[in-house]
């Protein structure tokens, strides 16, 4: 498998994947920290390195509408946004998945206003968690690159749109080593563009179809149940595509990534760029002989219920790190997902939730260590808590 390692930022790596995949249409509206990504890609378009028609729309709502039109037409389509842009898109996200269109959306994770923040957290992506979009989280530029290539195939096999997440600035603007596949390998992997990739292309004028009809109470339920059943098939499709991808890249991606969990009594769970730091925290504690481990959620939607339940079978305590708050008296979105996933485990671990990294607040090893300590002491009853959820980094 011919590859080369080069230094790229997350945005550069994503732009490179977009170039190699050679999407037919990219309808985009700039917003930090995604702007740079589109700038890089626009260069490829300007230099004729891709056949993509880049539609510079007037806003994210229209961006997704144009993507829906182009995808329904039969084209291979991508867009990208962040934070408030994702929020503006939400109405159309539900329409895209309801119409079962294989669109790819890059979410360069950014906090939601107010107060306005251009920096990273997962609040924007959490707006999409119930939209029946497949959602992949990337820890670094390498994973962003790999996830993007896989996302095209996943979307077209599942006939559901896919969101590829990577953290704003932390990943999007930092240089790292990235192993790049050669163009031919990538293009063979995703396969050629063709309107008949989808069952009902609008542009097949010999077979006119109607997209976006109005369903009355007598049919809406059936439409949604079909969507529900098909979305559960996504697990197998993601697994299948990951295996195919391993064949060309040598790298296999599971729904979750486990780190030192085999004998771990206390486990921390996080998504995105903070996982590396969390692993270092685990190393530090392991060196003191503490039995701790860490888990990264890579496939966020559909949620890896079974894998997580198994991975947490023998843990005494679990702390979930949410990069977004739900303001609901329960805990962060990821915390609730994890709690639901392990609900039927025989010996359920003690659960705690920390909100961290909001609006770009940097997170370091010590803070994760403090969090794991707190978990252990809570579990042992040495300390007590008022709520299931606590802020890890708020100045007191």
């Amino acid at each position: 498998m011919p590859t080369k390692v080069i230094a790229l930022t997350g945005n550069q790596a994503a732009a490179e994947a977009m170039r190699q995949i050679n999407f037919d249409v990219a309808a985009v509206y700039p917003i930090s920290p995604q702007t740079e990504l589109m700038g890089f890609f626009a260069e490829y378009v300007a230099n004729g390195e891709v056949n993509t028609d880049m539609v510079a729309v007037e806003g994210e709502h229209s961006a997704m509408a144009a993507c829906i039109g182009a995808a329904a037409a039969g084209a291979r389509v991508i867009t990208a946004s962040a934070g408030p842009g994702i929020a503006y898109m939400v109405e159309n996200l539900y329409i895209a998945s309801g119409m079962r269109l294989p669109i790819v959306l890059i979410d360069v994770n950014r906090a939601l206003s107010a107060p306005l923040s251009i920096h990273c957290d997962h609040g924007d992506s959490m707006l999409t968690r119930d939209s029946s979009w497949i959602s992949l989280f990337s820890e670094n530029a390498q994973e962003a690159y790999h996830n993007l290539i896989m996302s095209v195939k996943i979307a077209e096999k599942a006939m559901f749109p896919v969101i590829v997440n990577y953290d704003g600035y932390i990943v999007s603007h930092s240089i790292e080593n990235v192993e790049i596949l050669d163009d031919e390998t990538v293009r063979n992997f995703v396969g050629p563009s063709d309107i008949h990739r989808i069952p009902y292309p609008l542009l097949d004028v010999s077979k006119p179809v109607t997209y976006g009809a109005t369903a009355q109470p007598d049919y809406y339920t059936e439409c949604k149940y079909q969507q529900h059943v098909d979305f559960l098939k996504v697990y197998d499709i993601v697994k299948e595509v990951s295996q195919e991808f391993e064949a060309i890249s040598g790298k296999y991606y599971g729904f979750i990534e486990e780190y030192m969990t085999d004998d771990a009594e206390y486990i921390g769970i996080s998504m995105g760029s903070s996982f590396g730091t969390l692993k270092d925290a685990v190393n530090a504690l392991r060196s003191q002989g503490r039995k701790v481990g860490a888990i990264k959620i890579r496939l966020y939607r559909p949620f890896p219920v079974k894998d997580l339940a198994t991975a947490l079978e023998n843990a005494k305590g679990v702390v979930v790190f949410d990069r977004a708050d739900s303001f609901d008296g329960i805990g962060g979105p990821l915390f609730k997902d994890v709690a639901a996933a392990i609900f039927h485990n025989k010996n359920r671990p003690y659960l705690h939730n920390f909100i961290y990294g909001l609006g770009g607040r940097e997170i370091n090893e010590e803070e994760f260590i403090r969090a794991l300590d707190r978990l252990e002491r809570l579990e042992k009853g040495v300390e007590t808590r008022e709520n299931l959820v606590e802020y890890l980094q708020a100045r007191a």
């Binding site: 269109l101 069952p199 006119p208 009809a213 079909q226």
Partner: protein, 101 residues
């Protein structure tokens, strides 16, 4: 009225992969007035056809045929717009009652 399909019988994405299937719907049931055509007066100018909101007037290049009462909602635009007064709106019920006898 029609047999409702099951969830696994419908195409994905609530897409309708066919054309003009609304022709199943008997919108003639809305009709309270019926356009009665006087073929003596009709010159087949086709004006009624272009203004008919419900495509209920079968025509070809030369001729206008009898209104399709399965769809005609009885709006009366054809009667108003006919330059030759070839159409008269008659209460549907009078006709239905006659049919009853």
């Amino acid at each position: 009225m029609y047999e409702l399909k099951k969830w696994f019988e419908i195409p994905i994405g609530s897409i309708v992969p066919e054309t003009g299937s609304s022709m199943m719907n008997n919108t003639g049931s809305w009709r309270m007035l019926r356009p009665v055509l006087n073929t003596e007066k009709c010159t087949n100018c086709l004006i009624c056809w272009i203004f008919c909101p419900d495509d209920s007037i079968p025509v070809n290049k030369e001729q206008r045929f009898e209104t399709d009462f399965y769809y005609c909602k009885g709006c009366g635009i054809c009667a108003v717009e006919c330059p030759y007064d070839a159409l008269e709106m008659v209460p549907e019920m009078e006709i239905k009652l006659k049919e009853l006898e």
